[in-house]
Symmetry: C2
Subunit: 336 residues, 2 copies
């Protein structure tokens, strides 16, 4: 039986058009069943554009939509019929094995936490995301779920990040580092210092903790998982996007500045395209909300069909490779 | 009379060779006098390599050196004869108007704070640094001096960053933003939220506060000054360096992957070079430690001659354009 994925068809800047398109592409390419959750007429109108012969795609009715500007907690309590709430219900009731959401990140987190609950030993679910480096990709956790954290949270992020890295990225014995502003153990703010102590406090730890990692080193491939609070993680993620975008743009501007350079640019185009792909969040396939009893992939609000298709791949892999089972096992052998 | 700059000739990975070389270049190009502070025989041996006819370069004796690994506070108290301590003394005694240091950032900060004192109204000196954007460069403050901050500190960083932006970068009425993980006023951690309130609390403020700025937006040129605590600032700076370095490297790898692409690469070389220049910290000329009674430019530990030459330019401009006077005036008209 194929894996079934519930998709919030109404969430994101390009919903429902691009969400439905990406779902059709994902269902076909990754051989999964899809529940499109949203306003039936709108979703059906989009779905009718495609030939879905042989695909298992169903529409699940949800009349309300949570907007990006709404406070997540109160919105999910008030709008029981919101697409994100109903999509989470599909997972909670066992009708789907995973969730893909591109709308309000806060609403997706709140709905998942409320509707599915936390994994044992995890105090705060966190967002894990894959960043490109010069070597293998690195898992960044927390990329924005928890603005303020305690050392215990960062330690649990280390456990969850390790599970994600080994199961989804395919790294054996992933190296875990703390994002810090210096390499030595006494460096950084109180959170970084105390987290360092916690990571090194447990004898016989099966976590492969390598110490502090500076912002610059993240991209050299020095480690496989970097942990930090959600504020630092979100800044790291967005600065990465911002610099990559700026550099590609400036490089293009440079290349178009003279006729000779233009010829070079024409020849260099495939290289430029490949570079952009590597840093395009549509290619990552979204972030995983780890630490909940279920699988929830959170896509960027500006996700287009490609991003949704890739999010479906990440959701499928996470279920198949049992990331949550790995988190629980790692927790059992590393609890403090 | 030309401006005189004291330079810690023993500080940095390439001291004294590159420091002395950069000082000679800087003295000539920027028409300043230089005091090279360090071990006389070593500095003299380097200086003898150059024709310094017509330049005002003097050696000031300092027998001790503070190593990168030493704890800054105790090191400057213990080693009264250290090059960084003696260099600061030159400014304190009025023998020089500014200081350039490429050694331990902590030691330079501690020595400056101890030897020169703080400007009125500034509780915590901070490191201000210029980052490239798609538009005009943006001033990042604090880039690493204070791992933990209070809202009052960020507000003062806003005052100092504005002064730096208007006087050195040349921006009229610089726009100031808080680095945050969302645009709305209630977003982010406690520090970001409370700082937002503080920036908007004062009626008739002459600061051009524009609100929160996300990591991605920093590089679009949306504002001229971004404030944050030194932990977030240092991560921002180093992630920027790391991503820029990775992208240039990967782009080169792509370009050398086929014969045709190689031809393109050859043609595109000047464009690539220009891009690297734009993101090379040797080109920035270092960071200013703002908030002390004096002018102190802190260069990267791996500074070579070019970086030192540019640091001399930044030091000279800061003195000539009276950044500290501007900070005091801005403080007077914006104190809480």
């Amino acid at each position: 039986m194929s894996i079934k994925i519930a998709i919030d068809a109404m969430g994101g800047d390009y919903a429902p058009e691009e969400i439905v398109k990406g779902s059709v592409l994902g269902a076909r390419e990754h051989n999964v069943s899809v529940l499109l959750v949203g306003q039936v007429d709108k979703v059906k109108a989009e779905l009718d554009k495609y030939d879905i012969t042989g695909l298992d795609i169903e529409i699940v009715r949800a009349d309300e939509v949570i907007e990006m500007c709404e406070a997540p907690g109160s919105a999910i309590r008030r709008k029981k019929g919101a697409s994100i709430v109903v999509a989470v219900e599909q997972v909670a009731k066992g009708k789907a094995q995973a969730l893909v959401a591109a709308g309000s990140t806060g609403a997706a987190m709140a709905a998942s936490l409320f509707g599915l609950g936390r994994l044992p030993g995890i105090d705060r679910p966190a967002i894990a995301l894959v960043l490109p480096t010069m070597d293998k990709p690195v898992v960044l956790i927390d990329a924005g779920a928890n603005s303020e954290c305690e050392p215990e949270n960062l330690y649990q992020f280390g456990i969850m990040g390790s599970a994600f890295s080994s199961k989804v990225v395919g790294v054996e014995n992933p190296r875990v580092g703390i994002i810090n502003i210096g390499g030595e153990s006494g460096k950084g703010n109180t959170l970084a210092q105390d987290s360092y102590k916690l990571f090194t406090s447990r004898e016989n730890s099966t976590l492969n903790f390598i110490g502090n990692v500076e912002g610059r080193e993240i991209f050299t491939g020095i480690c496989d998982v970097v942990v930090c609070d959600g504020f630092v993680g979100n800044v790291t993620l967005k600065v990465t996007e911002g610099v990559a975008h700026m550099m590609i743009r400036q490089f293009k501007d440079q290349l178009y500045s003279s006729l000779l350079a233009r010829i070079g640019a024409w020849i260099a185009k495939p290289a430029l395209l490949k570079l952009r792909q590597k840093t395009d969040y549509n290619e990552y396939g979204g972030a995983l909300l780890l630490g909940i009893k279920g699988t929830c992939v959170i896509s960027h609000g500006s996700s287009k069909a490609l991003a949704i298709k890739n999010a479906i791949r990440v959701a499928k892999e996470s279920v198949e490779k049992d990331v949550n089972g790995k988190i629980s096992r790692l927790y059992e052998s590393n609890k403090l």
